[in-house]
Symmetry: C2
């Protein structure tokens, strides 16, 4: 008998998927119209984000396990970016009828594994499974500030230090390799997976520094966000919201670019090793890094790399004092 | 210049859409990585539900305004079904590049209008806009129990009264008319809209009795859910979770079926007026009603129609004491 969703049916599929997910933090399990979660300080942080087949991922590149992992990781980062502690996730999964339930189980396994690794004790507390022409995962994540103030984008002040926790440019570098191989060449994709597993993981199943969100808040971070659209563009958002200039350290950025060069293969015909300039472009504008960019009045906590200083002046991003044009990823931008 | 999302870009589109939404209940406005909502009793109700173009709606039948309205209404009903008061909504909207921003503005207007009508003071507090081959709206709704216990599906006890607030069968009856006209016949659809606006609204922009969720909880409701998959199937869920039999009153169901017959046109060639039997099938299994089915130890509050009693016995749904086979809508069921 077919294992397709269309043959198995929604209810039987859910009965197989739900037990694979963690719900440690729910006050009330699945089976009712809504989940009930604790909000210990009387407030709840909320963010939602969709991953759509095509624009956001390719089935040829991502395993179902990786899709589940990435959907959790990128959403958890939005709570961390506020200085919050994640408390739960809801998933609206839409899938074609021909999707096998085994694939959906693998998505659930990836979700559970990402939660265990990045936010232990947190899990999926609710969801929805529907039929659709393409696969998509719409995730909502909740978090608690545990009595603290949220860390906004608007609190950076002249004299603060700019710091970053996480990887930069590697997710974009991995995507560059995947695009060079394409979606049709299964053996090329397999070779890439064997040859550069860690680099591909930065794109396909990233591990943003979720716990560093609370650490940054406790260390007095004045502004923070998670870098999803490229360092320069996201830095310009803090600059704009805080009405300050963020002056980044060119030498620090060059060191990050060198790491990107080192992570890339030197011998690919289709994707020649990038030069320092190209690697710097990936660091500054690659996107999908999902690390935390924050400003601190004092030394940043362990895990954060010093990347510059906040200066008085018109909202702008500078490198070694010279203004740069922030560019990044706009999913609807004219291409 | 084109008003398409692909030409306008995500950020410029959001700048036009966000001001049209209400955010009265948010502690923190948009512009950061997560929204912050009050959870006054230290707990938060959460539910998520996706509406996908094709399986869940047709662009030929629903206006963008109606899509926005329905996405809010159906999600608000999930909070009401727990005895909760809605406190906010998050929307992950995915749309093709060719979608005009004016359409997205109309979706936002429908969302704001539904919130104003069904849950005044509540609005969209966060969201996400992404590119996708088809239009979809994934909504997450939050709610507060204000110190009360949640009303689960599992609390019905023998001797309780079964009651319902909302419409039954009309949403399915409207869908039947739309299917009879089809998606190609624009003038036929327009004629249907002119001739039966109220009936079509039950399907395209329903108004579930959101406030009756809290009223039911305050009146001591022992079990409750919102009827989305058909009365019988959802009644069987209360029966199964509570380990009781729900015995529905055949005469009350016949009166509801007569209302469905009266709401349908008598003179359509393509869709002849249904008989009482067919109308009863729409009442019992039509689905998408989104009213509240609840059980009460005493008289149900105003707004609820008495529909039967809870009896001891194996989990089952009965009509006038005779077991019936609950059937309903499974979005992946073999067709």
């Amino acid at each position: 008998m077919s294992d397709d969703l269309g043959a198995v049916g929604e209810r039987a599929a859910l009965a197989r998927i739900i037990p694979r997910l963690r719900r440690a933090q729910a006050l009330l399990g699945p089976g009712d119209d809504a989940a009930l979660l604790a909000a210990p300080d009387g407030r709840v942080l909320l963010s939602t984000d969709a991953m759509i087949e095509g624009p956001d991922f390719r089935r040829a590149w991502s395993t179902p396990y990786e899709l589940g992992w990435k959907a959790m990781a990128t959403n958890l980062a939005d709570i961390a970016a506020m200085g919050g502690r994640p408390t739960g996730l809801l998933v609206a999964l839409a899938a074609p009828e021909r999707t096998s339930v085994a694939e959906l189980e693998a998505i659930a396994d990836g979700m559970a594994a990402a939660c265990d690794a990045l936010a232990p004790g947190v899990g999926v507390v609710g969801g929805d499974l529907t039929r659709a022409p393409i696969l998509s995962l719409s995730v909502t994540v909740t978090g608690s500030l545990d009595g603290r103030s949220p860390v906004l984008r608007s609190g950076a002040r002249p004299g603060d230090l700019v710091a970053y926790s996480g990887r930069l440019g590697l997710a974009a570098a991995a995507l560059r390799l995947l695009f060079a191989v394409g979606e049709e060449d299964a053996s090329g994709i397999a070779a890439l997976r064997r040859g550069r597993p860690e680099l591909l993981r930065e794109q396909l199943a990233p591990s943003p520094p979720i716990r560093d969100g609370v650490r940054a808040a406790e260390a007095g971070a004045t502004a923070m966000l998670d870098v999803s659209d490229g360092l320069l563009l996201d830095a310009s958002r803090i600059a704009g919201a805080s009405r300050v200039a963020l002056d980044l350290d060119g030498a620090a950025l060059e060191r990050l670019a060198a790491e990107v060069v080192a992570a890339l293969p030197a011998d690919e015909e289709d994707a020649p090793r990038p030069g320092r300039h190209e690697a710097l472009a990936l660091v500054l504008g690659g996107g999908e890094d999902h690390g935390l960019l924050a400003t601190f009045p004092d030394e940043p906590p362990a895990g954060f790399l010093r990347l510059g200083v906040v200066r008085e002046g018109l909202p702008a991003v500078l490198i070694d004092g010279a203004p740069v044009d922030p560019t990044g990823w706009d999913s609807f931008a004219p291409s």
